[in-house]
Each structure stands twice: as C-alpha cells, then as structure tokens.
C-alpha cells in the first residue's frame, strides 16, 4: 500500500498540473485509486438538453414521510453521539430556490461506522442509528434534518487513509440536467489536506463550498448543535418566459 506521504505528493502534483478555477472535481484524479479504471478518458460531449432532460422527476408528500428527516428517532432508542440540526437552502445557478424537491442523505454513525454490510471498520454499530434520511425542500428551498454528527473513518485507498467526517447528499433540481450527488464536510477538519476525494476538487474556493458552517443561532439550548450548508445546483436552460416562477 502507498504511504500518505506519497498520496499527499500526488495530490500536490495534480493540483499544480490543473488550471485554477475548476468548479468541479477532476474525475481523472489518480490519488483516489478507485478512480483509475472508472473515469472516462474522452472529453464529455457537448449536448443541448432537450425534451425529457429538461424535466426533473417530481416528488411530493406521497413520497416522503416527515419523520424521515429526523435520523435520531427512527429506531426506538437514542443514538449515541453529538445530536445536530442541519439545514440550508437548495438554489439553482441563478439563485432561485428549488422548491418541494427531494433531498436524500446517508452517513456513518458517531463512531465512523456505516450500517452497510460491506463496512468492515471495527467500530461499533449503533442499533438506534442507520444514518439514512430524506426530506422535501419547503417553499423557500429549505431542507432540514436532525441527525448525529458522523465520525471520520478509515478506508483502504492507502496506508492509514481516513476520510474526513462527511454526510452524503443526493439532490435534484427542476431539470434532470441539475442532478447532483456530493458530500458535505465539517469546518476545520484536520483530515482535509490528506483526503484524495475532497482534494479531487483542485480549487480551494470550490472545496470550501462543500464545508458547512457552525451556526450558534441554530444550536438549541440543552439539545443540539446547529450547522448550516447551502447547496447551489447548476443553472437551468429554460428562458425566463418559460419558467413558472417569476421573481
């Protein structure tokens, strides 16, 4: 297995070789070893979106039970760890709220262990926490979860590889072209510089957009800490006249 020093050096080389300002991860980022055979080598082909690509799937109250937004009450017991509130807005590239749309999250427990059967990290499973949640954004594009702060966890990318604590997010916009799957991180994580997945985004300002903000006004007395994270999807292609929400 490669050392952290080697991975860290490869990250630095890849950053130096990438023009500044990239808004998205490099998909050919070899410090993330699993990407080697799984990234396309040809440039993505430009296509003008049409027809079905311009319409996102629609989700509603028939799809999502409100209790799915509270990951701490799903299993009859109190999960172990730091209870936290997590909220923010989902916006499109023009700053419009993405209303009444599905947000899905999944995460490790406080000890850094997923419920997933293939997670072999020898940290305890918490029978009161599966780490899976869903909600719909409200009329202002706001999502809201109650959960437990996840722990960092080891993985096998290289010797002594550890992922910074994170929550996986899955998002839809109003067009299917806006589909986004990403990960939210916590401020000040000492593992940021070492992590090839986070560092696959070579631009510091873009990386910063994946980091939530601690919000003391959201923190509640004797109950839970509060974090805020806004999400911006790519822009839509409809002209203003075609949109039904004029603002």
């Amino acid at each position: 297995m490669d050392s952290q020093a080697r991975i860290t050096a490869e990250i630095a080389e890849a950053h130096a070789a990438t023009p500044p300002g990239g808004a998205q991860p490099r998909i050919d980022f070899l410090p993330y070893r699993s990407s080697a055979l799984r990234h396309p080598t040809k440039d993505l082909r430009h296509a003008d979106p049409e027809g079905i690509e311009l319409v996102a799937p629609v989700f509603g109250h028939s799809d999502v039970d409100p209790v799915e937004a509270d990951l701490t009450i799903q299993h009859g017991g109190e999960p172990i760890g730091e209870r936290m509130l997590l909220t923010g807005r989902v916006l499109d590239g023009d700053g419009r709220p993405v209303r009444h749309q599905l947000v899905e999250i999944w995460q490790a427990n406080a000890g850094g262990r997923y419920i997933h059967k293939r997670d072999q990290h020898p940290a305890p499973i918490d029978p009161s926490f599966t780490g899976v949640g869903r909600c719909l954004t409200d009329g202002d594009g706001v999502y809201r979860f109650t959960t437990i702060k996840p722990g960092p966890y080891p993985w096998r990318n290289h010797l002594n590889a550890w992922r910074p604590a994170h929550i996986h997010f899955s998002l839809f916009g109003t067009e299917f072209t806006q589909r986004l799957v990403t990960q939210m991180y916590f401020p000040g994580d000492p593992l940021f510089a070492l992590d090839p997945i986070y560092q696959s985004i070579t631009d510091q300002a873009a990386r910063d957009r994946l980091v939530a903000t601690y919000d003391h006004d959201l923190t509640t007395h004797e109950w839970a800490t509060g974090y805020r994270w806004d999400i911006v999807l790519t822009g839509t292609h409809a002209t203003p006249l075609e949109r039904d929400d004029h603002e």
Binding site: T41, R45, E53, L54, T234, T236
Partner: protein, 182 residues
C-alpha cells in the same frame, strides 16, 4: 436576471449508498406484466472490461405518447407512471429496469436520459440511451463508433440492452450540457 452563483461541486457516491438510495420498486417504472412493459437492462464495465458491482443508474423518460411525466410518486408509485427510476448494479455489474418504451418529446428522437454514479467515479455522468432506429442531429453528428455506444440493442427476447463502459475501447459517450462548468 440575478447573477450566476458558483455551483456546489459533486463528489463520488462512494461504496455505502445501498441502504439509502435504492428502494423497493425503484427499478419498476411500471409493474411487471403491464401491457407494453419491457426490460431495459445492461452491465456497467470499467476500463479493464470488468463489471462494476457498485454503480447506480437512474433513468428519466417520456411516456409512450411522448409526454414528459410530472406526476409525483416515484418513491411510492401507487400505480402512477412518473418516468423516473433508480437501480443499483448487482455483484455481476448488471442492472435492470421494467418500464415502457418512451416516444420522443416534441418530435425529437426517443431516448432514455441516463445518470451513472459509482464508487470510484468522482462526479455523476449523463448519457442517452436511444431506442433502436432512432436518431437525431446529435447522434448523427458523432463518429459511428461513438454513436454506437448510445444505441439500445433489442435482444431476441424483446428486451432492451444498454451497456455502459466507463472507460476503454468502447467507452460510452458521456454528455455535458451548457451551464455545466468543468
């Protein structure tokens, strides 16, 4: 018009999405046995030709009349056709949807819009799966070998096969749309 905001970057779906994203009935856009139902299936391959057992595909499609469904209810379908489905690949890298064949929207070619996610893939990929015999200016503008990667094959049993090659000689053509900054 407000100014354009910087987008939130994507990240890999990772290895542990199976308890969160796949769900009962996700791959059944229509119930099995529905009149006109067809299997849309295939294998996801990596650059060495090995199957990818931890990928997730989503399809978005019109109905057989070419209408783009805007009905809610994809997670709990209750008989509604919503034109969206989600399926993880199995241990052999295979996925399968049960659906109906879409028609083109507004006179366009008939295709499934497909999103591919996988462990090892740092951002989602978009592609199109064109029904047999369909074409349009985009498909016709591609070199023949590349266009072939976007064509659904009708199998002898009537099912539709669409394999995805993330890399390699038969690498699938993946798309970027205007306003996707890379």
């Amino acid at each position: 018009m407000s100014e354009t905001l910087a987008p939130t970057p994507g990240q890999t779906i990772g290895p542990f999405f199976h308890d969160a994203l796949p769900y009962d009935g996700g791959a059944f856009l229509v119930p099995a046995g529905t009149a006109g139902a067809v299997r849309l299936h295939g294998t996801v391959y990596d650059g060495s030709g090995a199957p990818v057992p931890d990928a997730l595909l989503e399809v978005r499609q019109a109905d057989p009349s070419g209408a783009a469904p805007r009905a809610e209810g994809s997670l709990r379908r209750d008989g509604r056709f919503t034109g969206w489905g989600r399926a993880a690949t199995d241990a052999s890298g295979r996925y399968a949807f049960t659906t109906v064949e879409p028609a083109g929207v507004d006179g366009g070619a008939a295709f499934f819009s497909v999103v591919v996610l996988a462990r090892g893939l740092l951002d989602r990929l978009f592609t199109r799966a064109y029904l047999p015999g369909q074409s349009d200016a985009f498909l016709a503008g591609l070199p023949a070998a590349e266009a072939q990667t976007l064509r659904v094959v009708r199998e002898d049993d009537g099912s539709l096969r669409f394999d995805v090659h993330l890399q390699g000689d038969r690498e699938t053509v993946f798309l970027r749309y205007p306003r996707h900054e890379r």
